[in-house]
């Protein structure tokens, strides 16, 4: 149970930090960030996505390849969840 709680806290913190990157490196207006926002509605261009992924990589020391899950992310929430999964996976594999 403690593990689960720890994981939940970690995830929330990671998600928050990812959204911070959208604001700082993707130059997205924080007021426009809602769960159903899309990259289009946030006016995030492909170059911005690369900058955001680079910043996330530096921040979390991970590499994010573009696979089916990332490519098929329909909205910001999907995108953030997929990135969070990757970061958690990477941390878990390093811890073991």
């Amino acid at each position: 149970m403690d593990d689960l709680k720890q994981d939940t806290i970690d995830r929330a913190e990671i998600e928050k930090q990812i959204l911070d990157v959208f604001v700082t490196d993707g130059m997205v207006d924080r007021a426009k960030i809602t769960p159903d926002a899309t990259l289009e509605s946030l006016e995030v261009q492909s170059v911005d996505v690369m900058m955001i992924l680079m910043a996330i990589e530096e921040k979390f020391d991970v590499y994010i390849p573009i696979d089916g899950k990332i490519a098929e992310s329909k909205n910001l929430n999907d995108f953030v969840q997929t990135l969070t999964d990757r970061i958690v996976e990477e941390r878990t594999s390093r811890a073991t």
Partner: protein, 404 residues
């Protein structure tokens, strides 16, 4: 003037699989990947540390000490590939090939290793830089050295169109022969740029896989880089026959287009049109094509776009059309890609064997072609197509046919 036919009379290759077309074809056919940890003098600082690197290549075995200072690595491997191709075509360095022979060699960036050395020496070491950096770095280095080596005094230049460089160099060489401008062309592509800076720059584009390149597979997550050179001797058929050389294949069709859209996103229309133009040029219907060597990088987007373009060209036949990508074996050779893949395509046709797409796990419903998964397949191949689609939106497609 009647339509001159253009044949291939010699092939040479240097790749991660080793020196020679034989090792390239053997690896492609058996699905033996040359991908491994990159060996680099300077530390790779990124996350991606794998590629199909040319290993155990000894340039001094090919190049004289007085010439070596002028040769970047991409030129060195191109010379080794050219020596193999010209030997197969029964030429030696004593034969000065003269005004009727052109040399056209594609490369994405040319002497990248020399430029990387220059920057490191200048900015970091703050010491004396290589005096021949400029001629080493120039994109026409490989073409010009081959000219000098074999006395080719006809037209010579580099084609630089990223990943379509080699296919365009081969296609334009064939067209020059057809029009009667020259009788013979030494063509192909070369690329050697697996430096830490280049790896980092590629990594930033998010197109590299951290583990396995799996073209057309549902689980694919990117491409793997390679380096290498592929060189061909093309000749007008009547000239080759008069020399009593046995042609290996005919360059039957060439088609090339520009998307005029996005710099990095592949485009269905542009890819489709390049394939259609190559078919028209070859005078063949899509049904005549027995095997396609795909661009097949293994990125999510390329493979979906290429499949869709193939569907428009081949229609309902697509699920049964053998289309394989050999990039997981020799890596994405960038400016050399089309040349390495044409050598494989010609060998596939000569041996009637479609090489496999290795690392294949599960079909992707968006890529419903026959990827010849994991194992080579025997089938009659009378005509084959090889695709290259490049950043900048440049598409180039070649079609080869048997000469017997």
């Amino acid at each position: 003037m009647p339509h001159r036919r253009v044949v291939v009379t010699g092939m040479g290759a240097v790749s991660g699989t080793g020196i020679g077309v034989a090792s390239l074809w053997s690896a492609a056919r058996s699905g033996q990947s040359a991908v491994g940890e990159i060996i680099s003098e300077r530390a790779l600082q990124g996350h991606i540390k794998i590629a199909a690197q040319v290993k155990n290549f000894k340039p001094e075995q090919y190049i004289e000490p007085l010439v070596m200072p002028f040769c970047d690595r991409f030129t060195q491997i191109a010379i080794a590939a050219a020596d193999e191709a010209l030997a197969q075509a029964q030429f030696s360095r004593k034969d000065r090939l003269g005004d009727r022979t052109g040399v056209i060699v594609g490369t994405g960036v040319g002497g990248y290793t020399s430029i990387d050395d220059l920057n490191f020496t200048f900015y970091v070491l703050k010491s004396r830089t290589h005096p021949m950096t400029i001629p080493r770095g120039m994109s026409n280095g490989a073409a010009s050295h081959i000219c000098t080596r074999y006395g080719c005094t006809g037209p010579s230049f580099a084609v630089s169109s990223a990943c379509s460089s080699a296919n365009q160099a081969i296609g334009i060489g064939a067209f020059f022969i057809r029009t009667g401008l020259i009788d013979r062309a030494i063509v192909g592509g070369s690329e050697a740029g697996l430096t830490p800076t280049a790896m980092r720059a590629w990594e930033n584009l998010r197109v590299l896989t951290p583990d396995f390149c799996r073209p057309f597979s549902k689980e694919r997550n990117g491409m793997v880089l390679g380096e290498g050179a592929g060189i061909f001797v093309l000749e007008a058929e009547e000239i080759a026959r008069a020399r009593k050389t046995e042609p290996l294949a005919e360059i039957a069709g060439y088609g090339t287009t520009s998307d005029a859209k996005d710099m990095v996103r592949p485009d269905i229309d542009g890819a489709e049109k390049a394939m259609r133009l190559a078919l028209v040029d070859a005078g063949l219907s899509p049904d005549a094509i027995d095997y396609v060597n795909a661009h097949g990088t293994g990125t999510i987007l390329n493979d979906v776009v290429e499949t869709e373009a193939l569907r428009r060209v081949f229609g309902s036949r697509l699920p049964n059309l053998p289309v394989s990508s050999t990039k997981p074996v020799h890596g994405h050779g960038l400016g050399a890609a089309g040349a390495l893949e044409l050598a494989i395509t010609i060998m596939a046709m000569r041996e009637n064997v479609a090489p496999p797409t290795i690392n294949f796990l599960h079909p992707d419903p968006n890529c419903d072609l026959d990827p010849v998964p994991n194992h080579a397949r025997e089938l009659p191949i009378r005509a084959a197509m090889s695709n290259s689609f490049a950043f900048g939106g440049i598409n180039a497609c070649l079609i080869v046919t048997r000469t017997d």
